[in-house]
Symmetry: C3
Subunit: 309 residues, 3 copies
């Protein structure tokens, strides 16, 4: 009996050790991925400092990069990259987004929780426009920097990405704080949204915008969603006429077949297709549509699509 | 006795919790690293979407990047980067490789298992040529997209890298599927291989190719392996004559010493050396051999090496 | 009693399994982050080979990148990036740093432990100058390549970053070796330091250097620390006169307000501020100070700062 008790005590000790070890290893609570985006580039140490702060909060965090090549201060491009990728990350993922021309001014620092349970940390300057519109806003909180700021960073005013956003994002994704501990709740309707027109049908044509280029390949991505496009009753291989205008002036008019993917036209051939975000897009197979036709993106640009006669 | 039984039951409960926790944390089965390569660049969200899909499959996966700066559609360069790096990754590593000009055509999607136990996921377009030749093919399977495709992505035809390859690669490296669950087995001899000449000795000279440049530094890497080079009985500091031809025309002729590394010639000096893949290479110490002599890489290029007279 | 003993034995078995599993999962000893820096760029496979070697040592390591875009062979820039970021990483972090024009020569390979407990692995060529000066050197050891070299790499002389530094760094950060197993201890005073002047006050002006530019935005970062600047008794919004000289010749003279951050001057306005490393810096709000005024960085450059009259 005594020996059993002794073995038992020894076993209980081991179990306790395991509980502690498991807890130390983070088995006790789930972590969410932390994803960083900025316009910092990777040539200096800014992004690495953010990674370091995050792993300082919790060395077992999974920290990934969305991109750090957002064009300088281009809030709209940042908004689009979040829109392009967030859906492919698990629920609970925390996105730290720093495109922040107003760092050090009175613009608020916020965490936005979407209706589908992802978190977006950054300046309230419009970066979260497309996410908020597509996914819906569950709740917004202003970051209380008195508690959610890297200890020792109080004298630094120019790098909120490191001192406030990476730190708060890491605390949230590690489970060290809950969403309600970010800071006071804001009115959902109070957040800054960038204005942009929505795609629509007029006179049997679809009019839409060019929010972004598929920069690497020069494909032109529109904001026309597949269901809207389908109202034109265009079938695979049908020819489509596309007019592209900048500030109202025609820049290019192209007629090309509607195909499911690049390989269905010869190399160098143009096509209209549904891109990987299920919006209508324009491309040259293994070529650069935007360069060939002088197309850029942004609020000045308009695209008009109709079935070719 | 009762109290022991009670303690025991309580302890058993804890142990069970630990088993569950350990299993949830993935201690029950081993994960392999997942490595992503593409020609997407890092400026937009494409690579981040792939990372997100992988961590959505298993948030504890270790996901790394080989490079995403393969020149557009350059299957050969992709094949070389796999050849250059795969050996340095542990057995079981899963490489997702997307250089895919034929996305959306009938080219197959495959997973190739090498004889030394690494997995290569991607299009069957020649990307795995150099890996297959060096490491040997244990088995090839075609990806069955009915089961190995990101749920909800059925309408997307242009981003197999995200919807099929990252998803299948993550399932494989997390252990959620075994290799045999990828899809039906293919004939090993059926996979697409790019043709390229092998280095050889002719008349006391070695003739070989220039598969790739060491782009950052401008060093010229040949496909002449150290054991073949050793047949010329060239010793350290011996002078070597190198002729470089494009499409049969002489572009440069250089005589330089054979050295073990850069620092053994003065800054600006030329040398012949054995590179980090144990192939013969040409360099200027802290300079750019390729730029100085106008050398590029690819199937048009030939190099001829002999002991200087 | 028998049944209890039986249950007990079974339970003990499970606990043993858990101990083994926990140990296999690395719960038994703590890992430190491993951070890689180089001038290799990300276009080829060099950095990926280093990641692979590290995960081959221990698949559960957390491996991050500081930057791989250090200008070719620019030891000073590498030294600055370590100085810029190391403080933001947890104690125990291991930095593998490869800017190594002398690879293959007699320059030593070392691991430096700072007084605050971080480890720096790389060539002894001055890369650790700024870290050593700011953080203090606890101990330096020369890497014994007979034991701390990737098995099978003995014939490779040109890629210490992969064969020696990533391998040794990974062993150290995984806890597979302790610091004393790196190799023999060196005299702390024996390590290579780059010479550079220190900022100082002369005749009521501060003279300092320009160690680096904030390359992405064109801000000019000086080596003048905030406490030294404060001796000029310049208050927020006070105007400051800055003279920038190269090799003694005046390149630019600017008078601008001292502000806490960019947003406090209009777009295009110049300002003097304290940067994220708490040194004095010069910027144009949403513009490029360095380009506008033709400023570069390095030992030739001098900056002189005084309160405007």
């Amino acid at each position: 009996m005594k020996s059993i008790r002794k073995m038992f005590t020894s076993l209980r000790g081991k179990a306790a050790v395991l509980v502690v070890a498991a807890s130390a290893a983070g088995l006790a609570h789930a972590r969410s991925p932390l994803v960083l985006m900025s316009d910092f580039g990777l040539a200096d140490g800014a992004v690495a400092a953010m990674h370091g702060v995050a792993l300082g909060v919790d060395p077992q965090l999974s920290v990934s990069d969305l991109t750090h090549e957002i064009p300088d201060f281009d809030i709209w491009a940042g908004a689009y990259r979040l829109y392009q990728t967030a859906d492919y990350w698990p629920q609970g993922t925390v996105f730290v987004s720093v495109v922040d021309p107003g760092v050090g001014t009175q613009r608020k620092s916020i965490v936005l929780k979407t209706a589908n349970g992802r978190f977006f940390v950054g300046p309230d300057n419009g970066l979260f426009t497309l996410i908020a519109e597509r996914d819906g806003v569950a709740e917004v909180r202003e970051i209380d920097e008195r508690v959610n700021r890297l200890p020792g960073s109080a004298e630094s005013y120019t790098f909120h990405g490191r001192d406030v956003y990476a730190y708060t994002g890491a605390r949230l994704s590690s489970g060290q704080i809950g969403f309600e501990q970010v800071g006071p709740r804001l009115d959902n309707a109070s957040i800054t949204l960038l204005r942009h027109p929505a795609a629509r049908i007029e006179d049997g044509r679809i009019k839409g915008g060019i929010p972004v280029l598929d920069v690497k390949y020069g494909n032109v991505w529109t904001d026309i969603p597949k269901p809207l496009f389908e109202k034109l009753a265009i079938r695979p291989h049908d020819r489509v006429t596309v007019r592209l205008r900048k500030a109202g002036s025609l820049v290019a008019e192209v007629t090309a077949p509607f195909e499911s993917s690049f390989g269905q036209v010869p190399k160098g051939g143009e096509l209209v297709y549904v891109n990987s975000l299920l919006n209508v897009a324009l491309a040259v197979n293994q070529g650069n549509f935007a360069k060939v036709h002088g197309i850029e993106s942004g609020p000045d640009w308009e695209v008009e699509i109709a079935k070719a006669p």
